[in-house]
Symmetry: C2
Subunit: 367 residues, 2 copies
């Protein structure tokens, strides 16, 4: 069985589950640290695992451009290349190609674009994106989708939705064909991505069309693109009930700790977000201030603030208890590379501990 | 006893020793990884210790400018601030103030300068440099010296020598005074720095004057400033015999592995150099190719070279045996921060293993 629900909360729609991947079982709800370019900022996968990660995310678009598909064929996948003993989900790159690449044109099912790195011309399409992810040997393949920003008018949202549905069908059929031809080494799962912006009828249509195709799991895309929490939560409220109970649900690119808790309560099982690693780079630290998840259970500090110059207190009480805020302040002020590393460790540990706490609270019907 | 010679090689003037510091005994000959600004590039002291370091080096000039002496007073020293369980030697900053600062003027015993960071005006003098190092609570204090480049005419070399001698006397007297007044918490050792460029009579004079003052150890400064190996070795050949047998000898800022081996054979006990950490930043890796120290026992590679793009072989056979050269090549090509970390680990481990091998070879009279 791919996904098994172990327990449902009596207090909300939250659930505990076990997701079975080629590289091991993962407990849901979980959060994936981001290794966009086959590397988590200044940390090895071994180190991220120690902090509590059970799965990581990498990106098809970036890995396709550099180091390129052939490297992954040679290494028999991303796990060997980056030395990951953890399962890996690879994002399809749909979001990146539309937001990063230049001169993007859609012709039929082909996306023509120029690399944001060196201007070289490329074409991606649903099958090619599957081929790349088969070479990456990721545990979860995401289908190519068209992710639109918010707000967007309904006509364009519908166009993107139709394309996303068509591409999902092409992707699934092609992946099944490769499976039959024994061209896929490991069991690779494949997830579809529900689009439809913030139009209820479009979301329901997208969900219905994709659920009918019977994917291994379902992602909700096109959120966390600058909209308010209200809009995001409303979309979740009408979309999640349309998803099959017994399949994993993945909310892409979300979010702040309170967004994650809220989405878990609504029945989401999987998360990824750049926040902990990106904000670490700027010295924003996530710190627990309570032993439970009620109310304001955490705070953020900007370690660059001069008030930390003489602060002898520990960065946190766990992995960085030996190091003072004053020391980390100093490292940021002089741009020492250790600053990024310590801040990233702090933030990832915060997010991964949050997920542990969430799982415990679901178990105890507190969430 | 501050320094104890444990064994003299039967094959050269190399010696094995034990240097007693406030933070533990250190086996000579040793190499100090550089934590100029209270941080080793992307590594904690705990990690550097695991790679084999027994002592590290930090810098008075940098720490004085940022984070400043008061922080170190508050933390009761650099060890607490940066969490170093290893002994620390602090360079006096003489070299840095003359090479980095702006509008440097010497008036009497005061060096007036503007910070290279923000142009702020400062004065350093021998006593102030001791005060800062007392605040840093370093295990070995280096006296303020005037380090001149090579080549230099004899008149100017003599001027710098005279100043260095006068400043050494002021430093030692002042440090003894502080000791008597119980203003120094731990046992801090104090080393003098022999100058004199490549003029034999000046080097002998500098050595004689400083040895007469009875310091805890002696450094040879003003080398590794761009001169040939021949000049460096010649200076060592006539300077080392003038140094007391029973005190540690420190060759500052040297150097390549072959320079270190040669200097050990001539009787040097202590080394520091930016090479392993600085060259790591540019992707230059030091790799052992033999199990002994004869002939070409190592090679360097530039991991940026495209020939490593598909190289599945391990970076090294020790700490980084799990990671391929192709992966590190990829990390450098996309500027991932993990690249600096892995390369620094490789190079520091190479240098620290070199010192272990050197000590073993002295023990067995092979070097």
């Amino acid at each position: 069985m791919i996904y098994k629900i172990v327990k449902k909360s009596k207090k909300s729609k939250a659930r505990l589950g076990l997701l079975n991947t080629a590289h091991g079982k993962v407990r849901t709800p979980f959060f994936m640290p981001i290794a966009t370019k086959a590397s988590i900022k200044s940390l090895t996968v071994k180190e991220v695992k120690k902090l509590g990660a059970e799965m990581i995310l990498s990106n098809t678009y970036y890995n396709y451009l550099k180091p390129g598909k052939n490297i992954f064929k040679k290494f028999k996948g991303l796990h060997n290349f980056m030395q990951s003993s953890l399962p890996i989900l690879t994002d399809s790159g749909g979001y990146q190609v539309f937001s990063l690449a230049n001169l993007v044109k859609i012709k039929g099912d082909n996306i023509e674009f120029k690399s944001h790195l060196n201007g070289s011309k490329h074409i991606l399409n649903p099958k090619k994106v599957i081929d790349i992810q088969v070479a990456l040997n990721s545990d979860i393949i995401m289908v190519l989708d068209e992710c639109v920003g918010l707000p967007i008018d309904k006509d364009n949202a519908l166009l993107a939705l139709k394309r996303t549905t068509r591409w999902a069908k092409i992707s699934l059929d092609y992946k099944n064909k490769l499976n039959k031809e024994n061209k896929i080494i490991n069991k690779q799962l494949i997830f579809a991505i529900i689009q439809g912006a913030n139009y209820k009828d479009l979301r329901l249509r997208s969900s219905k069309e994709l659920v009918n195709m019977n994917f291994d799991g379902y992602a909700i895309g096109g959120l966390a693109v600058g909209e308010s929490n209200d809009i995001m939560y409303k979309v979740l409220d009408y979309t999640i009930p349309t998803l099959p109970e017994n399949k994993p649900r993945y909310l892409m690119g979300v979010g702040y700790p309170e967004n994650i808790i809220e989405a878990v309560k609504k029945g989401i099982d999987m998360f990824d977000c750049v926040i902990p690693t990106r904000e670490a780079r700027h010295g924003k630290l996530y710190l627990k201030i309570k032993n439970n998840l009620n109310g304001n259970f955490y705070k953020t500090i900007n370690i660059n603030n001069s008030k930390f110059k003489n602060d002898k207190s520990s960065i946190n009480n766990t992995s960085l208890k030996d190091y003072s805020k004053a020391y980390l302040h100093h490292l940021f002020k002089i741009n020492e590379p250790l600053s990024l590393r310590l801040a990233t460790i702090n933030n990832l540990e915060f997010y991964l501990t949050l997920m542990k706490d969430i799982r415990k609270d679901i178990k105890d019907n507190r969430l």
